[in-house]
């Protein structure tokens, strides 16, 4: 038997495609005889750049199916996809040498040590024996397993097992990691640690990462861009920075006279929205626009002589990502549409705020919500939809 030895260089990624993951019209149907046909992915078209990519969707939205198609483990029913510039149907083998995969489910044998297991998995990824040993030790250290790595995996805690799963994905020095629910089964502290680790791998190791999760608030902290799917359809693919910058809101809280202030702000061309005791005012996408908003608020409060209690820039809650059109699309200009346009878009958009809320998962398990008590009580999305519908009629 001859051993085919590939080039000793780092496998080059075709320069032509800047996108790490591309899909066009990607569809996957399962033709179950008993349960009938199930459409897991429905015409998914997206293009995501390098970095940490969040893949969010409720359980059963098609996240795992997408990952398996990207690995070439499942054949798409129609459409095409490419990972690192390689086609998933024709060049799956090439993709799998460049990609590390961490499954959602438990996948570790309990009766071997972490070192043995990760070494074996390194060899299965094509590393020669010595290199596999070295890289196994290194990747286990990178995920924070030191002396424990000589213990049987069966004695590990869930958090340690998740780390081993991550280490085996990392052992082959991938260009892209596909992590399916990496925080699954972890307690809040464990989730936090795992997310830090993922963030660190993305930032320091220069590896692109696709993190699938059903908890938006969780991966929002670490992602450069976000892909949201529901029932196999793309809800949105957007860059996080564009989103947080363009759609940051200012919370204005006055002890009294909130209604007058709202009227004054409307008069100044802003669209304040009530949220409990505060008024939320959208900041513009650019510095200039933001400054104008700040000025307008300052002037309005001063003119009315209201006791200003609080004026703070609030980070957008992730659920609003789906109800909110005011941020850049990844592919497409998507620059500041005027409010009326936005409203029309929102009304015609099949995405409902309810769906978005469903995706964001239980807020109790959401560390982002726990850290932002000020923003915690904000189920204001239905109101916004109503407002949007209203302004649409106004427009006509």
């Amino acid at each position: 038997m001859t051993t085919a030895t590939t080039s000793t260089d780092r496998p080059a990624v075709p320069a032509a495609s800047a996108a790490v993951i591309e899909a066009s019209g990607l569809t996957k149907r399962y033709n179950g005889a008993a349960r009938g046909a199930v459409t897991a992915l429905d015409g998914l078209t997206l293009s995501v750049p390098a970095g940490v990519i969040g893949l969010v969707g409720a359980n059963g939205a098609g996240k795992s199916t997408l990952i398996k198609i990207l690995l070439g483990l499942l054949a798409p029913s129609s459409g095409s996809a490419a990972v690192l510039g390689y086609d998933v149907t024709d060049q799956a083998e090439r993709i799998r040498t460049l990609v590390g995969y961490m499954p959602e489910h438990d996948c570790l044998p309990p009766d071997v040590t972490a070192t043995e297991f990760v070494t074996h998995m390194g060899r299965m990824g094509g590393l020669p024996p010595t290199a596999a040993k070295e890289r196994a030790a290194e990747s286990l250290r990178h995920v924070g397993l030191h002396e424990e790595r000589y213990r049987l995996i069966g004695t590990y805690s869930t958090g340690m097992k998740q780390r081993v799963k991550l280490a085996q994905a990392l052992v082959g020095d991938p260009r892209l990691l596909l992590l399916d629910e990496p925080t699954n089964g972890l307690d809040p502290a464990g989730r936090e640690a795992m997310l830090d680790l993922v963030e660190r791998i993305g930032a320091e190791f220069g590896i692109s990462i696709l993190v699938a999760s059903h908890l938006l608030g969780e991966i929002e902290q670490i992602c450069d861009s976000l892909v949201a799917i529901e029932s196999g359809k793309l809800l949105r693919a957007a860059s996080m920075s564009a989103f947080t910058k363009a759609s940051a809101v200012l919370a204005v809280e006055v002890d009294e006279g909130a209604a007058e202030l709202a009227a004054a702000l409307r008069g100044a061309g802003l669209a304040p929205r009530r949220d409990g005791r505060a008024l939320l005012v959208r900041l513009g996408g650019t510095e200039e626009e933001s400054d104008q908003v700040y000025d307008a608020i300052r002037d309005a409060v001063a003119d009315l002589g209201l006791p200003l209690n609080r004026l703070e820039r609030r980070r957008h809650r992730v659920e609003e990502l789906f109800a909110d059109e005011d941020f850049d699309e990844l592919d497409g200009p998507g620059d500041g549409a005027d409010p009326a346009d936005r409203a029309t878009e929102l009304a015609t958009e099949p995405v409902t705020p309810a769906a978005a809320a469903a995706i964001s998962g239980p807020s109790t398990a959401d560390p982002a919500a726990a850290r932002e008590p000020a923003a915690a009580a904000e189920p204001a999305t239905p109101a916004e939809a109503a407002e949007a519908a209203e302004s649409e009629t106004d427009h006509e």
Binding site: T2, T3, L73
Partner: protein, 322 residues
Amino acid sequence: MSSDTATAGPGSPSGVIHDIGYRTYTGERVGRLGIVRALYWHSFRSAWGLGRGPRAKIVPILALVIMCLPAVANAFSVSRTGVHAIAYDEYMYSFQLVLVLYLAAVTPELISRDIRNRTLSLYFSRPLRRTDYPIAKIGALISAMLVLTALPEILLYVGTIGSLHGGSAVWHETRAFFPGLELALLYSVVFSILAALLSCYTGRRAFATGAVAVFFFGTWVISSSLVRLTGYRPHFVHDGGSDGGGYFVRPTSTGSGPKISGLLNPANLLEGLKDWVVGRAPKNSDMPYPGSFGIVYLAVVVVLCALAVLLLIRRYQKASLL
């Protein structure tokens, strides 16, 4: 994306480990075939308990010792009395019990373990193809079985020729030895493939062990009983014209009942096939000499193995395994 180290320099390998940043791998990578070979070798070692705990070595070593005991006894027997303790081509059939016990202990480790631990998705997310995995596993199992079957034959041969005098005696012995080796290979291939197939449908080690044991023993009991019930009686008529190597030939062919019954168990099947190929049956044989029916034995062996391999490969195409 830099192709060099992403962060800090190499540092000292055993010094302050925390200071070593992430290092990319620029060395050699073996291709798909290299990975298949690594998986084969890893599985072969596991089948003998190597790289596993001490408990995993008990059954393989015990099986090997038991298999070799008759060969060792034969060496003494030949040197003292000149009488062969066991014939080369009866060895496997007589000790099929040990082969089955070994397989029942080892196939769950090789096959069911990855299903139970759901490790398969990790294999398949690497360059391996779906068919590579079962082929590497079957190959490893056959090789491991070959150690168990061929080593006793070799010991038997070496132990015998040590006491022989004269070139013709050695030549005669050698001529009897090679069919024994071929039989060892045949038993290894057929038994391994069937045991692998039986183990690949369950992740539970105990179920796989049970399936292998019940299949081989159960069918052996059924097949051998049916062979007797349908009218076969071992009877011995000396064949004067033969080479006199202790063989007796059935002068009359029994009815087709016993011959068909013999198809029902792998060991009986291989015994019948062997008798047909060498054109005679040993004395005391549990199986009737198949005569012209032997072609059916051959066909069944070939079809059975092909079907089993096909089913195994198909099993690993299933997405539900991921």
